[in-house]
Each structure stands twice: as structure tokens, then as C-alpha cells.
């Protein structure tokens, strides 16, 4: 957990971001701090700006105004080369696995390492296999993505995002295309990535019960801005938003039972 004196690992200050050819303003003066070691959930209705918020953290979407500071670096002020170096410290998984379909699993995970060329071949091989083992895909190194299930593909995508040993993992609705059981297993994997490897995670999702169990911070995004942030384990404090109240419910024992189907409304 974060040391009280340590500045936040991710600091988004008053960020306004427009996207697309029409420059639609998706984020409006959004502010969010994420401490090292946190698992921070982002919730919000579709179109509220969750994806854009995540894509702003590694500057895939460039803010119109405001600052994005990651590990003490103001990303918008970096040169292209320095931004690429900074991005190696920020892994990302998307709603779709976005694997290269013409590369096998091993080569997909090796890709970020080969791009940066910092590891010699034996160490690269070791790293790739370790990452595949971590996500439980060690037996599929030679398979092509098309031969894997959606959940397996997403695991490979997580292995690829972790290959360069980033401090931060951004997850943009990684389970939204998966069935409930597969999604739960993936959340379990993310919990292990955070707990064992100490990776700070920012995850957007609609799966409120899973987020309530996984996250130690949750930010509610409404209309392009952060409406409130709180610890989902703190179920007593009043919540400002409907989503916040719903999340708080899943933080309670009754909420967990309700979600498990033991308790009915």
C-alpha cells in the first residue's frame, strides 16, 4: 500500500479530452489520483468516458488541456521517444484482446520485448514463458490466437501487457465480451497480478460486484468528469451517485450474498 508521503503514481489533473474527427469532448476537467499499489475501478454509463480516461493515462488519447503525470513524468511534455519509454511502464489490455492474429501466442507476448530490444534472447524467452505461466497459458505458447477462446485470448493479452514488467496495468473493460465464469477467473488473475507482482491497476468495467471485491478505490465517472471516488469496502458513508450507491451495496455482506444468488430481492 502507498506510503502516505508518496505522491500518487498516476495524477490526472483537470483533464479535458476530445476524441474522433468531430473532436467530441468526452472528458471534462476530470481529476483522478491513483496511489502505487492501488486497484482503482472506473465505473460509469456507456459513453461516460471510461475508455477515454484510460487512454489518456498512456496518452493514446491526447488531452486538450490539463496534465497527466505518471511516475513523476508529465506525459504531454515528453518527447516522442521518451513517451515510448514511459509507455513501457504502462501495460494496457483492451475490451478486445487485440492480439496479432498472424503471430502465435509466444510471439505476441514477445513483441513488446522485441520492439525495445533490451533483453538478450535467453532472457527474453524466459520472460515470455514466465508471463505465459503467470496467466495460465504456458501450454499454449505455439497456438495461434484464432484457435483460443475469448478468455484465453484475453489472458494472452494480459501476459503481453505485463511482458515489459510495467508498474501500471490499464484494463479497459477486459471482461465485457466474456461469460460470467470466465470473467470471474480473469478478475481473480488481476487480483493476483496486483497482490503478487505489486502492479497498480486501473480497470474500467460494468461488473460492479467484481469491482467491489477487487478494488480498493473506485471512481464514478459521469458526464465526462469524476463525480466521486471512494473505497468500496467503506459501505457506511453516503454516496453521491446512483452507481456509487449500487457499488457500496455490493461491498456489503448482503450485497455479496445477493450477487451470489443466495439472497433474493
Amino acid at each position: 500500500m502507498a506510503h502516505p508521503a508518496e505522491p500518487p503514481l498516476i495524477r490526472i489533473e483537470q483533464v479535458t479530452t476530445s476524441v474522433g474527427a468531430a473532436r467530441r469532448e468526452v472528458l471534462r476537467a476530470a481529476t483522478l489520483h491513483v496511489a502505487r499499489g492501488d486497484v482503482c475501478g472506473i465505473v460509469g454509463a456507456s459513453g461516460a468516458g471510461k475508455s477515454t480516461l484510460l487512454r489518456t493515462i498512456n496518452l493514446l488519447d491526447v488531452p486538450d488541456s490539463g496534465t497527466v503525470v505518471v511516475a513523476g513524468r508529465d506525459l504531454a511534455r515528453l518527447s516522442r521517444r521518451d513517451l515510448r519509454v514511459a509507455r513501457q511502464d504502462i501495460g494496457m489490455v483492451f475490451q478486445q484482446p487485440n492480439l496479432l492474429m498472424n503471430l502465435n501466442v509466444y510471439d505476441n507476448v514477445a513483441l513488446p520485448l522485441r520492439l525495445h530490444g533490451t533483453l538478450n534472447p535467453p532472457r527474453l524467452r524466459r520472460r515470455v514463458l514466465d508471463c505465459l505461466d503467470l496467466v495460465g497459458m504456458g501450454a499454449h505458447a505455439g497456438a495461434y490466437p484464432a484457435g483460443l477462446s475469448g478468455g484465453q485470448q484475453q489472458r494472452v493479452a494480459i501476459a503481453r501487457a505485463l511482458a515489459s514488467q510495467p508498474a501500471i496495468l490499464l484494463c479497459d473493460a477486459p471482461t465485457s465480451a466474456l461469460d460470467a465464469a470466465t470473467a470471474r477467473a480473469l478478475f481473480e488473475l488481476l487480483r493476483a497480478v496486483n497482490a503478487d507482482a505489486g502492479v497498480t491497476i486501473v480497470i474500467a468495467s460494468h461488473d460492479l460486484p467484481a469491482l467491489a471485491a477487487l478494488c480498493n478505490r473506485v471512481a464514478v465517472l459521469a458526464d465526462g468528469t469524476i463525480a466521486e471516488t471512494f473505497d468500496p469496502a467503506d459501505t457506511t458513508a453516503p454516496r453521491a451517485t446512483p452507481l456509487g450507491r449500487e457499488l457500496a451495496f455490493y461491498g456489503t455482506e448482503a450485497g455479496v450474498l445477493f450477487h451470489q444468488g443466495v439472497l433474493h430481492a
Binding site: N58, L60, R80, L83, R84, V85, A86, R87, Q88, I90, G91, M92, F94, Q96, N98, L99, L100, M101, N102, L103, N104, L111, P112, R114, L115, H116, Y144, P145, A146, A157, R160, A161, S164, L170
Partner: protein, 220 residues
């Protein structure tokens, strides 16, 4: 066998060799120049930095202008250029000049399209890994576009083959000239039919090879 057919076989072999020479030069030039140009067109068009927009427009305009010329017109219009580059205006080497100039922008547009067909998500993933624009092209786009590129290549070979036949009509040599001289001008229907069948078979082989190869590299 029609009369004199066997006598013409060496001539046909010679013509075939000339056509293959034109094909080799035209296709190689289109790949070597058109491939990078296609990448450039894609890069400049897909997500142009503000300074690159005029360049993108100029490249695209040039490519499309060359492509609007009917090949026979291009062939004649380029004669002065051909004389400078090949030292002569007749023969397969001379014909290779307009062939190449026609093939380059055509292949460039096909390459651009093959790259544009790669899903946006893998490009995002590449950028998120910290890949440079060039690395995204080399390690992501060209890998994922492989099947489309192979199909484009097969189509290029067929295109240059048919252009080479056209070039034969104005002194370029090759099968086109063979057909004109022995089939058309001597009113020899057998020669005509045989040569056309030969060309058709050649195209079939090229297409089939292209399709097979594309299927093999496509792991989607």
C-alpha cells in the same frame, strides 16, 4: 498441329521469355517503389501530423493521376522518358519503363488498402506497448496485412502481365507482339487461340498460387 506451328515454337519461346522479362522488371519495380509508397500513403492519410497533410495530398494525387491514364495512352505518352531510361523505345526493356510506372501507383494503393484493413485495435495495442510509428508499420501492420498483401501481389502480377501484352502491340515484344504478328496479321486463328489459351493458363496459375499462399499466411 497447324502448318508452320512447330516452326513458330522457338519464336513463341522467345516471346514468352520477353514477356517474363517485362513481368520481372515491372513487378519488381512496383514492389520496391510501390510498397514503400503505399506505406507512406497510409501513414500520411490515416493519421497525418498537421505538417504532412500537403505531402499526403500530393502523393495521393500523383498516384491517382498516373492510374487514370489508360495504359496504352501512358505507353505512348512516356516514350520520351522511355528513351532516356532504356536508351530505346522498342523491345521488352523499353516496355518495362511504362509497365513499371503504371505498376508503382497501382500497387501502392493496394498496399495502402491492405494496411487500412488491419483492425484499429492492434494498432492501439502496438502504440500502447511503446512502438514507434515505423515499428507499428513493420511489426504490426505488415504482419497483420500479410494475406491482403499476398492477394495484392498476385493481382499485380496479373495486371503487369496484361499490360505487357498491350506493350507488345507497339513494339514491346513478348507474347503480345507474337499474337499480333502471327495470329492477327496472318489471320491464323489457331495461333491466336493457342496463345490466348497460354495467357489464360498463365493467369490461372498466378491467381491460384496467390490464393494458396494467402491462405497459408492467414492465421485469422
Amino acid at each position: 498441329m497447324p502448318d508452320g506451328f512447330v516452326d513458330l515454337l522457338p519464336e513463341l519461346g522467345n516471346a514468352l521469355g520477353q514477356t517474363l522479362t517485362m513481368l520481372a522488371i515491372g513487378v519488381t519495380t512496383a514492389i520496391v517503389l510501390g510498397g514503400p509508397l503505399g506505406i507512406l500513403l497510409f501513414l500520411a492519410g490515416a493519421d497525418p501530423a498537421p505538417g504532412q497533410r500537403p505531402l499526403a495530398r500530393l502523393l495521393g494525387w500523383t498516384a491517382d493521376t498516373v492510374r487514370t491514364f489508360p495504359f496504352a495512352v501512358l505507353l505512348v505518352a512516356l516514350l520520351p522518358v522511355t528513351r532516356i531510361l532504356a536508351g530505346t523505345a522498342i523491345g521488352p526493356l523499353a516496355a518495362a519503363v511504362p509497365l513499371s510506372i503504371a505498376g508503382v501507383p497501382w500497387f501502392a494503393r493496394r498496399v495502402e488498402q491492405a494496411l487500412a484493413d488491419v483492425p484499429r485495435g492492434v494498432v492501439d495495442a502496438g502504440q500502447a506497448m511503446g512502438a514507434s510509428r515505423l515499428q507499428v508499420v513493420l511489426h504490426v501492420l505488415l504482419v497483420e496485412a500479410r494475406p491482403g498483401l499476398v492477394v495484392a501481389l498476385a493481382a499485380l502480377v496479373v495486371l503487369v502481365l496484361s499490360y505487357a501484352a498491350v506493350a507488345g502491340l507497339v513494339g514491346g515484344g513478348g507474347i503480345g507482339e507474337f499474337v499480333l504478328r502471327y495470329g492477327y496479321e496472318r489471320f491464323d486463328a489457331d495461333i491466336m487461340v493457342f496463345t490466348v489459351a497460354l495467357l489464360a493458363a498463365l493467369v490461372q496459375v498466378i491467381q491460384l498460387t496467390g490464393t494458396r499462399w494467402a491462405r497459408r499466411v492467414d492465421k485469422r
